[in-house]
């Protein structure tokens, strides 16, 4: 990418472009390291630790939805209802 401003500063455009190409090649990520790391898990872990579990608290935050929270809540409720009817103080006589 060139810019009008580049030409205002007494540079030979060909030399500048050659240098720029060499710089881009030299600082390409592949030239500096074998691969780009995935940062998501590490970032979430740091936030979880520093927020003392307030964010990304249990790893579920890394999943794609909050369905897990809903399902566990629903199952807990069902267990409570079943327990109520199974163990409740019903007088069957």
């Amino acid at each position: 990418m060139t810019d009008a401003g580049d030409d205002q500063l007494e540079e030979d455009p060909r030399e500048r472009d050659a240098m720029r190409q060499l710089l881009k090649r030299s600082l390409a990520v592949e030239a500096l390291t074998k691969e780009s790391p995935e940062l998501v898990a590490g970032v979430q872990r740091r936030i979880r630790q520093r927020s003392r579990g307030r964010f990304f608290a249990d790893g579920w935050g890394t999943t794609q939805s909050r369905v897990s929270y809903f399902l566990v809540g629903l199952m807990t409720l069902m267990v409570a209802i079943v327990a109520y009817f199974a163990l409740g103080p019903w007088d069957m006589r």
């Binding site: 810019d3 205002q8 030399e15 240098m19 030299s26 600082l27 990520v29 500096l32 390291t33 940062l39």
Partner: protein, 198 residues
């Protein structure tokens, strides 16, 4: 990412939406890692620092005033953290210098200050990688404020206006730093190569 998409994402980020934040990290992780790696030169340090950039984004998103692009604001955080880390690495390495007579003979490298690797590898000298290694070393020898402007302009392809917002410098200063950085870099590289770059 478009401005509209950014606006929606920012609204969710401000509400501490974890899914939105994960989407943000995924959208920017390669760019931010690449920028930090170019500034610092050491992949392990760059990974650590890139993660820290996103932690800072998460912490500070509430103070983002939407006067600049989200990407520009994230780049500003990244550049500031790079500056601080570079200072720390320089201080740490100047504090544990080996005695001169204990050092093997070698070309001065940025590795000795915590980043970029030794360029004087015979196998590389024989290959087309020599110039790249010389540039990698030379970029580490530039004044940090010159280096950041040069990388943002010539590698990241940002506009002078964006670079001004990221660095907090007036556009004229950005242009002159880029110009001087190019001249310094060219001089170092041509001296090492023993020929002009055309």
């Amino acid at each position: 990412m478009s401005d509209d998409a950014d606006a929606g994402l920012i609204d969710r980020l401000v509400l501490r939406d974890e899914r939105a934040f994960t989407a943000l990290v995924k959208a920017y992780e390669r760019r931010i890692f690449a920028l930090v790696l170019r500034m610092i030169g050491n992949p392990a340090e760059a990974e650590d620092l890139a993660q820290e950039v996103f932690v800072q984004v998460f912490k500070a998103i509430g103070s983002f005033r939407r006067e600049s692009k989200l990407s520009t604001w994230i780049y500003r955080i990244a550049i500031n953290l790079c500056k601080n880390r570079s200072k720390y690495l320089r201080a740490r390495h100047s504090g544990d210098q080996e005695p001169l007579d204990a050092q093997p003979e070698r070309a001065p490298t940025m590795e000795s200050r915590g980043s970029y690797s030794d360029i004087a590898r015979p196998d590389d000298m024989a290959s087309g990688k020599q110039a790249e290694r010389i540039v990698q070393q030379a970029i580490g020898e530039l004044e940090p404020s010159f280096r950041e402007c040069l990388i943002l302009r010539d590698v990241e392809d940002l506009s002078y206006e964006d670079i001004g917002e990221i660095t907090g410098l007036p556009e004229g200063t950005v242009k002159s730093r880029i110009h001087r950085a190019r001249a310094q870099l060219r001089e170092i590289v041509e001296r090492a190569l023993g020929e002009k770059i055309r």
